[in-house]
Amino acid sequence: MTIVAANDLIIGYGAIPIASGISIALQPGSVTCLLGPNGVGKTTLFKTLLGLIPPLGGAVRIGDDDLADLPRRTIARRIAYVPQAYVSDFAYTVLDLVVMGRTAYLGAFAAPGRADYAIATDALGALGIAGLAERDANRISGGQRQLALIARALAQRAGAIIMDEPTASLDLANRLLVLDRIAGLAKDGLAVLISTHEPEQAFAIADRVAVIGRDNHFATGPVDAVLTPEQLTRLYGVALTVERTPSGRLVVGPAAAPHAG
């Protein structure tokens, strides 16, 4: 069953469309990678799928419902959002931050109770950062902060999680760690959508890819079918090739052979 589905979506701000013809379906237990150059509307698409801005055409469906008909609370229980890790002006502890994921389950006048803290702590444990619970979220590494935000999405107990460039601005070790955890979430049955600038990440963990290019170019499908050298070249506007390393990993590089010596 599809958790989030959009058909022939037109996205944009106000009355100005940025991209159109977008169809995307998020399945439980799968990772979908969204690729595309800067400024083509990846973030706009995310905001539309989360119901933060309305689509200019088409509709986003969550299960059997039209997103536009659902109150915020209900949306939050079905789709969670993970922003890029940032340093806040407020020094929340990791646990405080994660327990905010329970907001959609609290009464209007209530604060989280013992059960909510238990769920938040479980979420931290699932991502392997239970030991950080009492730490200042501004004083842990970028990778740990990103994992904390993912833990908050887990505490939200939604079927789908949308992550905006979760590995951007992380060092290599943290990148691998976060990617590994994201792959783990899909194994646990969640529908995950992430945006990234690195096609290799799609090869590594994605089941499906969607690409948004300039001039209303949109394509989606299995990773191997979409991320061909031709597609990538068209998408980024530079000649690209896909090569297989001796260990079987796929990497993307410039098509022209590097100069010798």
């Binding site: 989360l50 915020r72 806040s88 994921g101 803290y117 702590t121 009492e134």
Partner: protein, 375 residues
């Protein structure tokens, strides 16, 4: 800075800052961490009790200070006698109930309201450097009041004009922001606040130029610097219900207002109707600020500084920050007002005192913050 809570009887010392390493080792299991979270709530509650006692003590001491000194215990006894209805009409009672307590209670309301509004705005605008005046409520109230003084209106009318001026200014700012940008985002709100505030400031200057320099101008200046010297017993009764009415939604919605500090998109993705909540918070904060500014005049720094101080005690979570800010803000204002009326031969304007105390305290806070953020 956990001194207050760490020295409290019955507070678990292991939870003090140096307990951090212990926390890392013991919170592996979900139960332990959930338990620790509850313990954190207990510590915050203990801090609240201490702050409440601090406020009570400050009120009792402050009510006794003045030309006619009354020991704090006598103050307590007089209040108790009055409460059970066996009030004798001695000089203590006259001074206490007609002069001192109305003013002290007004200071409680002013401090509580400004600090609560400041804490709420800092969360709403995601910026710990925001004060309750950011949308122009004080400037608007000031304009209303100085116009009242210029027209030679009675005090009650001046207060009403101040109150109305504050509300009208923020309403104008909110409407302007809404017109400029559909949802009324935070940046547009702040910019609209600056513009309208500047206009109101210019109008105040114009009124000053037009005012009678011997009679009205001193009154205007005094009002714009803030004072509780003119508070009458009836004022507290008039303002108290408005402040309670405005504080209630802030207290009830404390958790949601805290989530707002994550930013609009995140708060909405977490299930909050941001536009509606923002309007509610602005309305509540404006209501309480305008109502106290109407009796006290413009008092800066309190709403900015008190929530900062409180964060050192209970951390940044709004559900803990708000009640603690209300208590500490009230105690702070009572202390400052007592200094204002008994520190010198003349009445010192409150705005001057809060700036003299607030400025250096704020520099210290910033220096401390900077120091803490370095690795």
């Amino acid at each position: 800075m956990d001194n207050l809570s760490a020295s409290a009887p019955g507070v678990d010392q292991r939870d003090a800052p140096d307990g951090r390493t212990a926390a890392r080792a013991t919170s592996r299991s979900p139960d332990a961490s959930a338990f620790r979270a509850v313990q954190g709530t207990g510590r915050a509650a203990a801090t609240l009790v201490i702050l409440a006692l601090l406020l009570l003590g400050t009120v009792l001491v402050a009510a006794g200070i003045g030309p006619y000194r009354i020991p704090p215990l006598d103050v307590l006894a007089a209040i108790f006698r009055r409460a059970i209805g066996s009030a004798a009409a001695g000089p203590v009672e006259t001074v206490l109930f007609n002069i001192r307590l109305p003013r002290v209670l007004a200071a409680v309301l002013v401090g509580a309201a400004l600090s609560a509004a400041g804490a709420a705005y800092q969360s709403l605008f995601r910026n710990p450097l925001v004060s309750p005046d950011i949308l122009g409520v004080s400037t608007g109230a000031g304009l209303g009041a100085v116009v009242g003084i210029l027209l030679g209106l009675p005090v009650a009318a001046i207060q009403l004009l101040g109150f109305g001026g504050g509300l009208a200014t923020v309403a104008l700012v909110a409407m302007l922001a809404r017109t400029l940008r559909g949802g009324g985002d935070v940046l547009v709100l702040v910019l609209a606040g600056i513009v309208v505030g500047a206009l109101a400031g210019a109008a105040i200057s114009l009124v000053k130029v037009l005012a009678d320099p011997y009679d009205q101008l001193p009154a205007i200046t005094f009002w714009l610097l803030g004072s509780l010297a003119g508070v009458k017993p009836g004022d507290v009764g008039g303002v108290l219900p408005v402040v309670v009415f405005g504080l209630a939604p802030l207290i009830l919605l404390r958790w949601r207002i805290g989530v707002l500090s994550l930013g609009d998109d995140e708060a909405r993705a977490l299930g909050i109707d941001v536009s509606r909540l923002r309007v509610l918070v602005i309305a509540a904060a404006t209501l309480i600020t305008a109502s106290v500014v109407a009796i006290s005049g413009v008092i800066g720094w309190v709403g900015l500084m008190v929530p900062h101080m409180v964060r050192l005690l209970v951390g940044p979570r709004f559900d803990r920050l708000l009640p603690a800010s209300i208590l500490l803000g009230a105690a702070f204002m009572v202390a400052v007002d007592t200094l204002a009326r008994s520190g010198a031969k003349i009445e010192i304007p409150l705005g001057v005192l809060t700036a003299v105390i607030g400025g250096p305290a704020f520099v210290w806070l910033l220096a401390r913050r900077r120091h803490r953020e370095l690795p």
